[in-house]
């Protein structure tokens, strides 16, 4: 009964303290739209290739470039955007500025060397040069496409067949998965990490205004207070999660993964973030402190959740055939993996069960630490 009353009271307060609530709800959807604007239509995933065509004859190089341009997505949209340039320095600058993913130079005697090779007058075809930034993940993909198309063209022209053709198969959905798609799970986790502020605010408000004294005198126990707070924040967390997912859908993101399973994972992830926010709130006494010092745990959670960039995996131990990594100590990293499996690989409950159990376990550990710290600090 007390838990329900406390839940209703906290919920009303959260609704009326709408600035933090709005911030929490719109933060991740904002990044969805930002990423969409930055990356463009996720289903086209254009790779920008700049080409300097020095080929004097121009016949074969023209055919080759035409082959590159013919590469299409399943939906018939071009995959490579070929831009012919003449200045090598300008092309390299485009690579450094990430305006282009790959820079290819076709040699002056390309057509001629190919003709001589076909006629048996030469053993080599003059090589093309490719230039790119290894730190740009689109570079390797673009280079791979160009390599494959070029060797296919040359095979066709020379009648030389490659001793083996690679069959390409893709994990997860049988569609081209764009970089944008890969960011969605992390952005969903980011929406939940925002709970750090709303949940923290619910606690810090009581401390800052000293209403915690009234609750202490009323014999409302810490676990009762924390349970009401958690229930309340889980609902807000799920609202944030759904808004973020809707934002992703609105810009063309598709998934056939189980939304129910996503919500279940979201629920335990919310609980884990709330637990961490309880610990955070034990070291902060004011709302100002929460919105300033609270940014530190926020960035720690976001950074280690792979939201910003994929981090190298440091193995800790193996449990029931599942590898546990160092950043799994923070539940958001595990949540990102689980969301990715559900949304992008259509994984079912059995495939994310370990992640669910792990997040729940870690969440309870943080919850008990937080509640203990809170009781100790506020004698409550």
């Amino acid at each position: 009964m007390k838990v329900v009353s406390c839940f209703i009271k906290t919920f009303k307060e959260n609704l009326r303290d709408w600035k933090i609530l709005i911030l929490a709800i719109v933060f991740a959807p904002f990044f969805i739209y930002l990423m969409y604007m930055y990356m463009g239509d996720p289903k086209t995933s254009l790779y920008n290739v700049v080409v300097i065509n020095n080929d004097a004859a121009g016949f074969s190089s023209g055919e080759l470039i035409s082959e590159w341009e013919k590469l299409k997505t399943e939906e018939g949209k071009p995959l490579l955007k070929i831009t012919l340039v003449s200045d090598s320095t300008a092309a390299k600058k485009m690579i450094k500025n990430r305006e282009a993913d790959l820079f290819v130079t076709i040699p002056q005697d390309f057509s001629e060397s190919l003709r001589m090779f076909i006629n048996g007058k030469s053993r080599y075809i003059s090589p093309m040069t490719s230039y790119g930034d290894q730190a740009n993940i689109k570079y390797m993909t673009a280079a791979s496409f160009i390599d494959y198309l070029t060797y296919s063209y040359l095979g066709l022209k020379t009648g030389i067949e490659l001793p083996m053709n690679m069959n390409y198969k893709y994990a997860g959905r049988n569609e081209i998965t764009s970089e944008f798609d890969l960011y969605i799970p992390a952005l969903l986790v980011l929406s939940i990490i925002m709970m750090l502020f709303t949940a923290g605010a619910s606690i810090v408000r009581e401390v800052e205004k000293d209403t915690i004294t009234r609750l202490t005198l009323s014999k409302l126990t810490s676990p009762e207070f924390m349970a009401a707070l958690s229930l309340n924040q889980i609902i807000i967390g799920l609202i944030c999660l759904l808004f973020t997912l809707l934002a992703a859908f609105s810009v063309g993101y598709k998934t056939s993964g189980s939304i129910a399973l996503l919500l279940l994972t979201g629920t335990v992830t919310c609980f884990s973030v709330i637990s961490i926010s309880i610990i955070t709130a034990c070291f902060i006494r004011t709302m100002f402190g929460l919105l300033t010092l609270g940014c530190f745990p926020f960035f720690i959670l976001a950074f280690f959740s792979d939201s910003f960039m994929p981090l190298p995996k440091i193995n800790l131990f193996s449990l029931a055939g599942n590898q546990v990594y160092l950043n799994d100590i923070l539940p958001t990293a595990t949540a990102t993996r689980a969301f990715n499996k559900i949304l992008n690989y259509d994984s079912g409950l059995s495939e994310v069960l370990f992640e669910l159990i792990w997040i729940t376990t870690v969440a309870f550990i943080y919850f008990f630490i937080g509640t203990w710290l809170f009781k100790r600090k506020y004698k409550y």
């Binding site: 009353s5 009271k9 009303k12 307060e13 009326r16 303290d17 000293d210 004294t213 009234r214 005198l217």
Partner: protein
């Protein structure tokens, strides 16, 4: 009579500072007990210990009532309300925290709001109330569960004169059912409200008893105040017999002292000022106030 609350040798230290130094007293059912002292005297710390919010480093508090979590009510010195809840919402919430039903809490809350002049704004968010209204709401929140003992820590600070009277009358009206411990540094207010008082300073209990008992702790009950230009202070003091004058204090243009028999002293003063041609701005004879008692005990003003 068995005391409702018994504080026995309470001791509390914050680092090197002793906030409460071996304080003992008893509070009886149905009385208003004034806990007086200047800022930093140790009143709030003692209240926190008595209400169970703080553990003493030494001594103990015994409260003779059922430990059902509902026996104690506390109205803190500062305003402690939920700003984003309406008056009624937070009162009902507090009632529910004390296991009252919503209906019961609404009924009791409505009555309390009515008594303290807040019923008309019961649906207004607390953050939109004036400071005085918030203070009254602060008191209501401490009373919703009908506590047996109510700690009111400076309940009247920040209230306008009308609100002070309203609150004072209300406190008087509930004392039959609720024992009240009132802390204040306003001696006048304490004198009007309290059945018994104790004065503490620097964590030590200086004196306790009924107001008249405390006043009688001074040998001489009458006080003479002479407002006179400070240039003439010494001239007047020279003529006052140290044997019949006690507790003399001097401020910018006032000399204050206690006397056993005021009439001859007044006559003597008038004689002196006539002889010396000294102009007196004001000459007043009054009884000891609590503030006089405190000054004589601590040697400084209460409202520092």
């Amino acid at each position: 009579m068995k005391p409702l609350l018994k504080a026995d040798s309470l001791f509390k230290r914050y680092g090197n500072i002793v906030a409460v130094d071996n304080i003992s007293f008893e509070i009886y059912r149905g009385e208003i007990f004034g806990f007086l002292g200047p800022n930093g005297a140790g009143k709030t710390t003692t209240i926190k210990i008595m209400s169970g919010l703080m553990e003493p480093d030494g001594g103990k508090v015994t409260i003779d009532c059922e430990d059902d979590g509902k026996s104690i009510g506390l109205c803190p010195q500062h305003i402690v309300i939920w700003e984003n809840l309406t008056c009624l919402e937070q009162i009902v919430f507090m009632g529910q925290m004390y296991n009252m039903s919503v209906t019961e809490a609404r009924k009791k809350g409505g009555d309390l709001l009515e008594s303290l002049g807040l019923y008309v704004i019961k649906d207004r968010l607390a953050k939109k109330l004036s400071g005085g209204m918030q203070r009254r709401l602060n008191i209501v929140l401490a009373l919703i569960h009908s506590p047996q003992i109510l700690f009111l820590d400076e309940p009247q600070s920040g209230l306008d004169p009308q609100s002070r009277v309203l609150v004072r009358d209300y406190i008087r009206s509930i004392k039959e059912k609720t024992t009240i411990v009132l802390t204040t540094h306003d001696m006048e207010e304490a004198e009007k409200l309290s059945d018994r008082i104790c004065i503490i300073d620097n964590g030590r209990l200086l004196v306790s008893g009924t107001v008249s008992e405390v006043k009688k702790t001074r040998v001489y009950e009458d006080v003479i105040e002479v407002d006179i230009n400070s240039d003439f202070h010494n001239a007047l003091i020279t003529f006052l017999n140290p044997g019949i004058v006690r507790n003399m204090t001097r401020s910018s243009n006032r000399i204050t002292f206690n006397v056993k028999d005021p009439i001859p002293v007044l006559a003597n003063i008038l004689e002196v000022v006539k002889e010396q041609n000294i102009r007196i701005d004001n000459l007043r004879l009054r009884k000891n106030s609590l503030e006089d008692i405190f000054i004589s005990l601590t040697g400084r003003s209460l409202r520092e």
